[in-house]
């Protein structure tokens, strides 16, 4: 008990202060009335919290991004609609590349002015994996990039060639999203199974 005052300071230092996030929510005016009143009252007697609040104000002001809403010419986005099977006999819909192995029923989609054919085959280079062969039709200028996604994660990116062909190799079985994008347009093929 010799050093009682130091021990009390060590034990009690800022014991009545609101937490840092409560102080932050107070600044952002997100606290319910009763808590906001309590924090305001505390601030009248606590120079430490006043200092932390001032630092927060300065910090947020310095970082404040110019996040005002802006309207602009939007990217045209199409959610591709699956077409019934049996249309794959049409000329021009067969993928330009063909690999040996099991061929599943092609998936055909329509997206605005575009048509898309996806053919899923065994990947001859990797046993147990699949290859996705795609053909995009209807684009005057085929400057699309193709991205393969799963659960919010981008797995592969490739380019669509001048004839509209693209390939994803070594794809494990699963459900994927395909996004074809260019500067002014995007085609989303959602939840197709490989």
């Amino acid at each position: 008990m010799e050093h009682i005052d130091q021990a009390l300071t060590a034990k009690l230092y800022r014991v009545t202060c609101p937490s840092a996030e409560e102080l932050g929510e107070y600044h952002l005016q997100m606290l319910p009335g009763e808590r906001a009143t309590a924090v305001a009252q505390h601030l009248r007697t606590c120079p430490h919290c006043v200092q932390e609040l001032t630092q927060l104000e300065t910090y947020l002001r310095e970082l404040a991004p110019e996040l005002t809403y802006t309207l602009r010419e939007r990217v045209q986005i199409w959610i591709a609609q699956r077409l019934p099977s049996g249309l794959n006999g049409q000329p021009g819909f067969a993928p330009a590349l063909a690999l040996r192995g099991e061929v599943e029923e092609p998936l055909m989609y329509e997206a605005g002015d575009y048509q898309l054919n996806l053919e899923i085959q065994e990947d001859p280079a990797q046993s147990g994996r699949k290859a996705i062969l795609g053909l995009l039709l209807g684009a005057e200028e085929v400057d699309f990039a193709a991205q393969l996604w799963q659960n919010g994660r981008r797995l592969q990116t490739t380019t669509v060639d001048d004839l509209g062909n693209f390939v994803f190799a070594a794809v494990p079985s699963g459900t994927y999203d395909l996004i074809l994008s260019r500067l002014t347009a995007e085609i989303h093929v959602q939840a197709f199974t490989v």
């Binding site: 050093h3 009682i4 009690l12 230092y13 009545t16 970082l63 996040l67 939007r74 986005i77 959602q190």
Partner: protein, 250 residues
């Protein structure tokens, strides 16, 4: 007739807004993540952008407690949050990696935002502002813990009495409970406003007597009164077995 030729007409706005709303409902997480990344790139290149996709990503993550959406939020914003950490005045002297604070800030947001709170976010800007506040808040926590640790170490040096060690979380919870119990106990030992102010000013705020006098000029007439109130209080407390137990538990 609208004042500026380039300004959108209300009908344009409604049509576009509805279009976005329909699209937001339809997009998969992958599509949303992709659009959020594209629009963020536009924003950082100072081009016009649409914040609706990133807002929707946060909405699914927080309101629907969708962990995959939260992972997507983390991936999308980790670089920005790390940058905010590095801009914080506390960071250069912290001795910690920026990633440590970045992860704590995301955790704080994930744990701190309820559906009710999310309802107060009008737009992406207010969500990001909250995330910035979380960054500052983890830095403040860090400083507070450091200050508290220094005060405990000072007592340890004087008493040669190292405190018992549990896990960091156990220590933190137990310490907080013990601190609050001691504070409540002390409230019952205090005789008057002067003693109350002395306890609060000297021990809770860790101010010097002169600073206590400056902060409470109407409670004390001079500094001697502060010393007197403190000595009277400590003389009583020294005889208390309960206080000894509180302090020995340190």
């Amino acid at each position: 007739m609208f004042p500026h030729p380039g300004y959108p007409k209300p009908s344009d706005f409604c049509e576009r807004t509805t279009l976005t709303q329909d699209l937001l409902q339809t997009l998969t997480l992958s599509g949303l993540r992709h659009r959020c990344a594209q629009e963020s790139d536009r924003f950082f290149n100072r081009l016009a952008y649409d914040p609706a996709f990133c807002y929707e990503l946060f909405r699914r993550a927080i309101l629907e407690r969708d962990e995959q959406a939260w992972t997507a939020v983390y991936s999308q914003y980790q670089r920005l949050v790390t940058h905010w950490v590095e801009r914080n005045a506390t960071f250069p002297t912290s001795g910690e990696e920026a990633q440590f604070f970045m992860n704590r800030a995301f955790e704080k947001m994930w744990l701190g935002i309820t559906g009710e709170k999310f309802g107060t976010f009008e737009d992406l800007s207010s969500i990001l502002r909250y995330l910035q506040m979380c960054v500052h808040s983890v830095m403040v926590d860090f400083v507070r813990q450091k200050e508290h640790k220094l005060k405990l170490e000072a007592v340890e040096e004087l008493t040669h009495h190292p405190p018992a060690r549990g896990t960091a979380v156990e220590d933190h919870i137990a310490t907080n409970m013990a601190r609050k119990e001691l504070w409540e106990w002390l409230q019952n030992q205090i005789k008057d406003d002067k003693e109350q102010t002395v306890v609060y000013g000297l021990f809770v705020l860790a101010l010097k007597p002169r600073e206590v006098l400056d902060l409470y000029p109407h409670t004390f007439t001079d500094i001697k009164e502060i010393y007197r109130a403190k000595e009277n209080l400590l003389a009583r407390l020294r005889r208390s077995e309960e206080l000894k137990e509180f302090l020995d538990d340190a």
